[in-house]
């Protein structure tokens, strides 16, 4: 009897050093991944490098910024050698200010109702569909969800958005701000994001011998096996670099041999 062929989902290769090894080749296409982290843990840089690596491969990318103006975001990110402003100028990476989008949609209000949430989903999906975006980052979904007062509405928003983006084959990173990434912490501010997301990447700080080290841990990723170990993050001029914090941390062939 012939063994059944093993089905593996196509991957969106993040291009981030070490992350694809952790994920056994990348994020399954069309997934919505929650990148939850404390302040200064490298969420924005990770999100932007995810887009840059996609743009370098010729993919159309979009970034929605809600936490800082795009002008400031681009000024901060352009100091990294991996980032090239031409990608923005040529339209490979499309950066949208959420404030501007709100203004265009008449959503300059303190809280969103059902109609407003649907308008926002429609706008994001329209953009993804029209320009064929395959990589999307929303930075941050926490800021956006603060305007949605009902937990049920937040759930509907994230579920509907994730479903529609998956249908369009768009791999999405939703950046989430959390106050603690250590034990007993929630991976999202509202509690519903983590349940709806296909994957959860947690980022935070850990103290080692008087030094504050950044770490990244993949807690959940539907559709692929992955390491659940903590990895140290270095934000280098060349991009994010992940290295195992423990010798048995990474599960790629190469590192597992090294750790075994």
């Amino acid at each position: 009897m012939q063994p059944a062929a093993v089905y593996t989902r196509d991957r969106c290769v993040t291009g981030i050093h070490g992350l694809d090894e952790i994920l056994r080749g990348g994020i399954p296409y069309g997934s919505t991944v929650l990148a939850a982290g404390t302040c200064g843990s490298g969420k924005t840089t990770l999100g932007m490098e995810f887009l840059v690596r996609g743009a370098l491969a010729g993919e159309a990318c979009a970034h929605f910024t809600a936490t800082e103006p795009s002008v400031k975001l681009l000024e901060n990110i352009r100091q990294y050698a991996f980032f090239d402003m031409n990608m923005v100028d040529s339209g490979l990476i499309n950066v949208f200010d959420m404030d501007v989008l709100y203004s265009w949609l008449g959503l300059e209000k303190a809280s969103f109702e059902l109609d407003d949430v649907h308008a926002l989903i429609k706008a994001i999906v329209d953009i993804v569909n029209t320009i064929g975006v395959t990589r999307l980052v929303i930075d941050s979904v926490t800021t956006l969800c603060y305007k949605i007062k009902s937990e049920q509405l937040i759930r509907d928003f994230l579920f509907t958005l994730g479903k529609k983006l998956a249908t369009l084959g768009c791999t999405t990173i939703l950046i989430s701000e959390i106050t603690s990434a250590t034990e007993n912490a929630h991976w999202s501010s509202f509690g519903v994001e983590e349940a709806i997301a296909d994957g959860i990447i947690v980022m935070g700080d850990v103290e080692r011998m008087g030094h504050l080290l950044r770490f990244l841990q993949v807690v959940k990723m539907r559709g692929t096996a992955h390491s659940r170990a903590k990895h140290a993050i270095e934000l280098t001029p060349l991009g994010v670099m992940l290295t195992p914090m423990l010798k048995w941390g990474a599960q790629s062939d190469k590192t597992s041999r090294w750790g075994s």
Partner: protein
Amino acid sequence: MARKFDFDPEDEEFFSMVGSFGVPKFDNEMHGGIPRGFTLIAFTDTGSGSELFAKQFTSPAEESENTLYVSTNEGQAEIVRIFQKYSWPMDINVRTIGEEYNSTVLERELLASRYRLEGFQLADIQRLAQTRFVDETNQDYLTEVTNEIMALGPYFRAVVDSLDFFLQREDPARVVAMVRMLQAHAQLHRGLLLISVSTNGLDPVIKQELSSIADMVLSFKVRTIGTDFETSMIVSKFRNAPENLKILVFRVTPEEGITPETVERIA
């Protein structure tokens, strides 16, 4: 100590102590006109002719560059048509807030509705991706109008028709504060200021506050008598001259605009 303003003696002679209503028969009934420095609040009924009166009030335009007509309901074209019809001076300053509001705020709201309903086109998305800042079109018309009137010099003449626009969009306390400031400005600079406000839905507290600020309170009324309408102007407050309290029934003629017919003294 109260602020003092030195007036040019020539100006004092030219402008005299009273200014015209723009309706000579009203001036006669009020013993010459309105004392300079007065703020008039006109409470108006719909169809009572108050809009025409507001325009006619600017018609004496002693100094056209120091005369301002602020309309919140009508457009420039309509105002020009009326001024031409009655041969009133056309070189006064006119600000049409309603028209400005329509072309900025309402147009933007219409566009937002279109985006929400029909979605974005590629050109819209390209423009959105290149737009880095929110277009701040939320103008503070209340502050703008206040500043514009405060910038008028001695013996100015100004009309705000009507206050409803501001009361519907701003905190009424802020609107009342603006009227208080303008009243002080008119008094100090011997200006003549007419502010109209519709009685429909007006909060009695606001009405009371406006009445107490005003030097002169007018009420424009309309009622039906048989198959006819009768329009009247009631002068219910005239600071320091209660003998001027009157009910003036008027009609509108093509030659003179508002023309009083009968006068009844309020006992």
